[in-house]
């Protein structure tokens, strides 16, 4: 989230697209409704009429996988009708930048496409540079090579009729969304976008998010109160887990994982510190060397010295994509000896799950640390698997739940809140920290005893978390923040060895500081553990609660907040100021600003988008795998040809095997959640009170399809794809409606994905249907759009 949960209440228009917060983030609705009480309009754009839609002023149905068409249409609407917040766009986005002459886009393909390898050569996706090496600008936005004009040209094809033909949205609803949302391009109005998995789980998921962000930039809605582009994060601490690098390509604090060719620290720093010649660009990532040195110092402590590159060589270097889908492919190919599943249940949650279950059987051993016996830990008992044929040795480690241990948890608004242990874990259950600690200590002992090929990274690890039964979580939190390794003076302030670092602006690249996660540097300062703050005072009156928990970065509650003011530092909307420049004190008031530099009108200041090398919000973004502008492509499995270009699917995604085709599988399948169940279901299908509410696997279909197929409500039906067949009860509802796409009616089959064969309430898993194909930028699987068939009767029928 650029903003945070409480801030939603300041919006004038709330767009829930690709998310269903009433069901999946119920507490968020407190703020949505507060905004509505203040006159805000709620828009729900979803293939299904959800509990969120039921609260919305406007509901627009769209076909799964067509968000870019929808958003592209809105961008077109804004540009054609000149609804942009011009001052904002010129000052804070790259709209005025001129793009390289060689950049082009034709019939669905951007310049540089390499069809052999499903990738782009991105050399020509760049700005025109002036003599000083700065991007050339045309602040009139008239230059044909300006981002603005290219954008306008790109989306001119997205006319309302075209859009609705693709998305299946009724033109009336679509125009109402356009009118309502695009009216917020004035300084006085704020619109927010709440998005989640309906947006991201596509072969063009990242571009979906981009299209939302671009619209928000054009309307001047980023950085302001009640605005932003807000990802409703999923698992309660998923924000924390990405901040702390649960993904394969990042280190804590979103530092890049070194690639095989980053041979030493200098090369690494050279590669990953973006450069700019513009003195007005803060280019924050240029601090990468400081953060890298500090994290290495945190990892290897005294063993890490300037002489040995702070043990940089101990870090594994990657040479490919180790994300979930390729890992599971390797699993199925017998590429792993063992696997540890800590708090995850891929046998239900992973795409093409029945293949994953088969893959698990190729392991020698599997460790599952979980609160429950999950489908993963009993994969050998799965329907269709003969336990006698499975040789895998499975260890189930009972884990303590979140209320049975202490530590921090970061919500979508980046607030890190400290939680205390409420009860002792039952039986033999232990915290994950204990499990990791034991694993580490035993592996280290083995390395010390048996030496092995490369023991140093393990045996030299700084692992000082007390001598208790489990690691002292307070010491862990202190280490994440970081401390000084020697007496030193930074920015005129003297620090002693062992002092906590006040915040990341004090971190050094010379080994004088440690920090386990630079973004969290500031969370545990000399003043103590900020994550434990519980003061609900709101001196700004803008619901920012700076003393309630702590928020990265630097306790800044709204990111890019220096874009919430005009170039003189006056809030665009003085009624809802995030920050304001006090000319007398020459200080910002309100939220913690994105850097304390003076307003843009003054000299020696910096642009507001400090994390971007060019300092401006990117309407044209060169970094992505699949193009600088989002372009509509059909999902990998789609019942219709691409009605916009001849490029059917995202050109940067290779076609996987086991693809359903519309002749055999005529219906659009989509998976989603319900309030009553949680994820792969272990947490809720074992709780009788929740099982009572949603006891059986079900699928939702339209009244029309039911009539056509002769289904009665509650009938057992089977849904099939090229990957598998599942059985479920048919819920027939007018909340699911067929879509008119390219003049043809298309039916949807809505499938919740919470069921499996373990636990109290059992049922077939939706993921036996889904495809293991992902977005080229993130590899998130395309869970939200596939082709399927539905027939009466169970699987045997």
């Amino acid at each position: 989230m650029t903003n945070h949960w409480n801030d939603i209440q300041h919006a004038d228009v709330i767009l829930c697209i690709g998310s269903n917060p009433a069901e999946n983030h119920p507490i968020s609705f407190k703020y949505v409704e507060k905004a509505m009480d203040r006159g805000a309009k709620l828009i729900s754009v979803d293939p299904r009429y959800t509990r969120t839609s039921s609260k919305a002023d406007t509901y627009a149905q769209l076909r799964p996988g067509t968000d870019i068409a929808f958003m592209g249409g809105l961008i077109n609407h804004v540009l054609q009708n000149d609804l942009i917040q011009k001052d904002y766009v010129v000052a804070y986005t790259n709209a005025a930048f001129l793009v390289d002459e060689k950049y082009d886009f034709e019939d669905g393909l951007f310049t540089g496409y390499d069809a052999q390898n499903f990738r782009y050569e991105k050399t020509n996706w760049k700005y025109q540079m002036d003599a000083e090496g700065n991007p050339v600008r045309d602040d009139t936005l008239q230059h044909p090579r300006s981002v603005y004009q290219l954008l306008k040209h790109h989306y001119a094809r997205y006319t309302p009729t075209k859009v609705c033909e693709i998305t299946g949205t009724s033109i009336h609803d679509y125009l109402e969304v356009a009118r309502t949302f695009c009216a917020t391009g004035t300084p006085k109005k704020a619109a927010t976008i709440m998005y989640a998995m309906g947006t991201t789980q596509h072969t063009h998921g990242t571009q979906n998010v981009r299209s939302y962000a671009m619209l928000q930039l054009l309307l001047g809605n980023v950085g302001i109160a009640g605005g932003g582009i807000n990802a409703l994060r999923g698992e309660s601490n998923v924000q924390g887990s990405t901040d702390y690098a649960i993904l394969y390509h990042i280190l804590p604090g979103y530092l890049k994982v070194p690639t095989y060719d980053n041979v030493d620290l200098a090369t690494y720093n050279e590669t990953w510190s973006p450069k700019t010649n513009d003195p007005k660009s803060a280019n924050w990532w240029s601090n990468t060397p400081k953060y890298m040195a500090s994290i290495l110092k945190a990892y290897w402590g005294d063993a890490a010295t300037a002489q040995n590159d702070f043990c940089y060589e101990y870090l594994p270097k990657r040479s490919g994509n180790y994300s979930f889908i390729p890992l599971m492919e390797r699993l199925q190919a017998g590429g792993f000896e063992g696997m540890v599943c800590m708090g995850t249940n891929p046998a239900v949650g992973g795409p093409d799950a029945s293949s994953i279950r088969k893959g698990l059987g190729k392991l020698k051993w599997l460790v599952a640390a979980d609160l429950w016996e999950t489908e993963t830990s009993i994969f050998w008992k799965a329907p269709g698997i003969d336990p006698k044929q499975v040789q895998t040795e499975v260890f189930l480690l009972p884990a303590a739940s979140s209320v049975e241990k202490e530590g921090s948890i970061s919500n979508s608004g980046r607030w890190a809140q400290w939680r205390y242990k409420a009860v002792k874990p039952p039986g033999d259950a232990e915290s994950d920290a204990f499990i990791i600690d034991q694993l580490y200590k035993r592996i280290k002992a083995l390395y010390e005893k048996e030496k092995g090929v490369y023991p140093e990274p393990v045996v030299n690890l700084a692992w000082n978390y007390g001598s208790g039964h489990e690691p002292d979580i307070d010491l862990v939190a202190r280490e994440c923040n970081g401390r000084f390794t020697r007496d030193t003076v930074v920015k005129g302030k003297a620090f002693k060895k062992g002092d906590q670092v006040p915040n990341f602006t004090f971190l050094q690249d010379d080994g004088s500081t440690t920090s386990g996660n630079w973004l969290y540097c500031g969370s545990y300062t000399p003043e103590g553990n900020m994550m434990q703050w519980r003061n609900d005072a709101d001196p700004t009156g803008m619901e920012m609660y700076h003393e309630w928990s702590w928020c990265w970065p630097l306790n800044r509650r709204i990111l890019y907040n220096r874009a919430s003011v005009d170039i003189n530092g006056r809030p665009w909307n003085p009624k809802k100021p995030v920050i304001a420049w006090n000319a007398a004190t020459r200080k910002w008031e309100g939220d913690v600003p994105d850097g304390g530099w003076a307003p843009m009108a003054e000299d020696g200041t910096k642009y507001p988008f400090i994390m971007i090398a060019e300092g401006h919000g990117r309407l044209f973004a060169a970094g992505l795998a699949d193009g600088p502008f989002p372009e509509h492509y059909e999902p990998m499995e789609s019942p219709t040809p691409n009605l916009l270009t001849r490029q059917q699917c995202n050109p940067a995604v290779a076609t996987p095997g086991k693809i359903s085709t519309s002749d055999k599988f005529p219906y659009i399948g989509t998976t989603y959640r319900v309030s009553e169940h949680w994820q792969a279901g272990a947490m809720t299908r074992n709780l009788p009170w929740l099982v009572e509410l949603v006891p059986d696997m079900f699928v939702e279909i339209s009244e029309e399809l039911a009539k056509w197929k002769g289904f009665e409500n509650g009938d057992i039906v089977s849904v099939s794809t090229e990957r598998g067949v599942i059985e479920a009860r048919a819920l027939i509802t007018s909340r699911i409606k067929p879509l008119r796409v390219g003049g043809q009616l298309m039916e949807q089959v809505g499938v919740p994905w919470h069921f499996g064969y373990a636990g109290m309430a059992k049922g077939d898993s939706a993921n036996d249907l889904t495809t293991a194909v992902g977005c080229p930028n993130t590899t998130i699987p395309e869970y939200k759009a596939f082709l399927c068939n539905i027939e009466k009767g169970g699987k045997k029928a």
Binding site: A22, E23, P26, I27, F29, K30, E33, D37, Y49, T50, R51, T52, S53, S54, K55, Y59, V674, S675, E676, P688, W689, L690, V691, E692, L693, V694, P695, D696, F698, G714, R729, L731, T733, S734, R735
Partner: protein, 287 residues
């Protein structure tokens, strides 16, 4: 029975169905606080995702789902059913052993040790709230307790605490004021009615909705406090007893006196006429 007339400070629920997301946190929180068993359900037992089929000995509150089309538009609506905690509860008025009590704080509570299990309360409640432990050999009545155990200690009820959006809890007059404020401020959002203000003589659960009440499944109820209907008749009891008793006494004294006078005039008439009858009886005995 309570003899109170002023209910304005009673703790009350303001349930704004336009704000309810149907998340059913309330339903689960209620089960948790009251440690109620889960019901065995299958698929869904009503529109939408509705479960269980009805309030019961195991379910004190339930979200009723409405999933239908109106003027070509989808309606997906939710209505929280629970005890209304009537100002003058019918259940309490009919109970022969005073097992239901309207507390000072607002909740209508049940004293199980008193209950004899006649189920009159179930018949009397206009909202069909009290439920019976049909599973037991010696059943008791079950219904929403208004979380009296919490309210007494100054906490809000479990369901109100769990609810992210729709439930406000506080003194009745303030809840009504707030409801009316919302009606005034957002006239287009609501059906213009504060349900519970007058219904059944006023309740401690107050609803606002955006759909007609009957479409949501609200029960049509009288505006008058129900105990009054019974009391209209019952209050006559002492009078009738005295009137009938006294009247008949007087009448019989009068008729007997007339009889005696008649007999005194008629002399032996009585004994004579009785003779054959006696013989009649004797004959039979001898058979």
């Amino acid at each position: 029975m309570s003899t109170r007339k002023d209910f304005s400070r009673d703790k009350s629920f303001l349930i704004d169905m336009t704000k309810c997301t149907g998340c059913r946190g309330c339903q689960v929180a209620c089960k948790q606080w009251n440690q109620l068993e889960a019901e065995q359900t299958e698929f869904f037992t009503g529109e939408g995702y509705q479960n269980p089929p009805a309030m019961s000995e195991y379910t004190f509150t339930r979200i009723k789902f409405r999933d239908y089309q109106k003027n070509g538009q989808n309606e997906f609506a939710f209505y929280k059913e629970m005890c209304m905690h009537c100002n003058e509860p019918a259940c309490a008025s009919v109970c022969p052993v005073g097992a239901f009590v309207k507390t000072e704080e607002g909740p209508v509570v049940y004293k199980s040790e008193r209950c004899i299990g006649c189920r009159f309360c179930m018949i009397a409640c206009p909202f069909n709230v009290p439920k019976y432990e049909w599973s037991k050999a010696f059943p008791l009545v079950k219904k929403c307790t208004g979380c009296y155990s919490r309210v007494k200690e100054g906490f809000a009820p479990a369901c109100a605490t769990a609810c992210p959006t729709a439930i406000t809890y506080g003194p009745r007059e303030e809840m009504i004021k707030e409801a009316e404020r919302r009606l005034g401020q957002y006239p287009d959002r609501y059906i213009h009615k504060v349900y519970g203000k007058e219904e059944a003589g006023g309740t401690s659960v107050i609803y606002l909705t955006n759909l007609p009440f009957d479409e949501l499944g609200f029960k049509p109820v009288t505006m008058r406090a129900l105990p009054g209907y019974t009391w209209d008749a019952l209050r006559l009891v002492p009078g009738i007893f005295l009137a009938v008793g006294g009247g008949l006494s007087a009448l019989s004294w009068f008729t007997h006196r007339r009889e005696r006078l008649k007999r005194e005039q008629a002399g032996e008439m009585v004994t004579e006429s009785s003779a054959p009858q006696i013989e009649d009886t004797d004959r039979k005995e001898e058979q």
